[in-house]
């Protein structure tokens, strides 16, 4: 990976961190609201199904996770196991795709 790509990855991780800071806060408030008001699964799904706003919010959350986590994991793996090169890049790319697919599947499940 060339230097420019490495720098852009760093920028992507910082930008996704900003998004995550907001998303995690909203997500936590949502959980607390749901628990304190005793909302069951059916009541939660009643609010999320067909809601483009919730689907959009959680799709953004998933996208930020899928960008942020693999880039951080790339550093952790590199520094812990002295692992660099194409094998590492492919591994974290696969993890990024898996996170995105699993996350979007979950978003679709509560939206559709």
């Amino acid at each position: 990976m060339n230097t420019r790509a490495q720098v852009l990855l760093w920028g992507a991780q910082r930008a996704s961190a900003v998004v995550l800071a907001v998303c995690v806060a909203v997500h936590l408030v949502t959980i607390i609201y749901a628990v304190r008001n005793g909302l069951g699964a059916a009541e939660i799904l009643g609010r999320t199904r067909g809601s483009l706003a919730w689907a959009g919010f959680y799709a953004l959350f998933v996208a930020a996770v899928a960008v942020h986590a693999p880039i951080g994991l790339r550093d952790v793996l590199s520094e812990t196991f002295n692992w660099r090169g194409t094998g590492l890049e492919i591994t974290v790319l696969v993890i990024a795709i898996a996170l995105a697919l699993l996350g979007f599947r979950a978003v679709y499940a509560v939206f559709a």
Partner: protein, 240 residues
Amino acid sequence: MAALPALTVSVWRGTESGHFQTFEVPRLENQTVLDVVTYIQRRLDPTLAYRFACRVGMCGSCAMTVNGRARWTCRTHVDKVAAAGRLEIAPLNHLPVVRDLVTDMTPFFDKWAKAHGNFKGAQTRKDDFARVPPAAEERRLADVAIECIGCGVCYSSCDVVAWNPDYLGPAALNRAWTLINDVRDTGNRTRLAAVAGDAGCHACHTHMSCTERCPMHLSPTASIAGLKRAAMVAALKGEL
């Protein structure tokens, strides 16, 4: 005045492999760690290898690991670090050990070269002096970081250097930042490319050990943050 109790001093002997050897050293008023090492070498064991020059915190050659922390030994008073009268003195971390307390600084200075740490100007001796206003933003940023004397304390204190052997380290990056802000320098485009990415400024985790331990009270962390921003802008513009 009653004599102070003697110091128990463990000193690293050997190279990469070796052991700590213990000495009893008389405790004196206003005694530095360098005084202790010198006493051992001159009175107790002349085979002890260590390095020093100025003894007054100007040359940076006497840096060692004292009770687990990199310091200038000439400016470290025993009474500030010898809890319970014990000292453990070892060579700097993250550098090859030549012998005992002497490290090979070659990798450290090689990384200054890799970071393009040399000034590259366009003027000749026939040109007039360049005039850089002291209040200019670039001059102010360079001034803050310029007093590094290359002692290696920051490099020895940096975890990322241990985890990533290619990482240029705080001192080389701090030096590059002073040149990035030198308006006379003409080598900044290639310098920024040399200090960016996985082996450069973007590897820094902002632990700030370098800033906490710099004997000159510089902030390599701030310099590295500046490089990160400059490289990011250059990458977005396609100039990297």
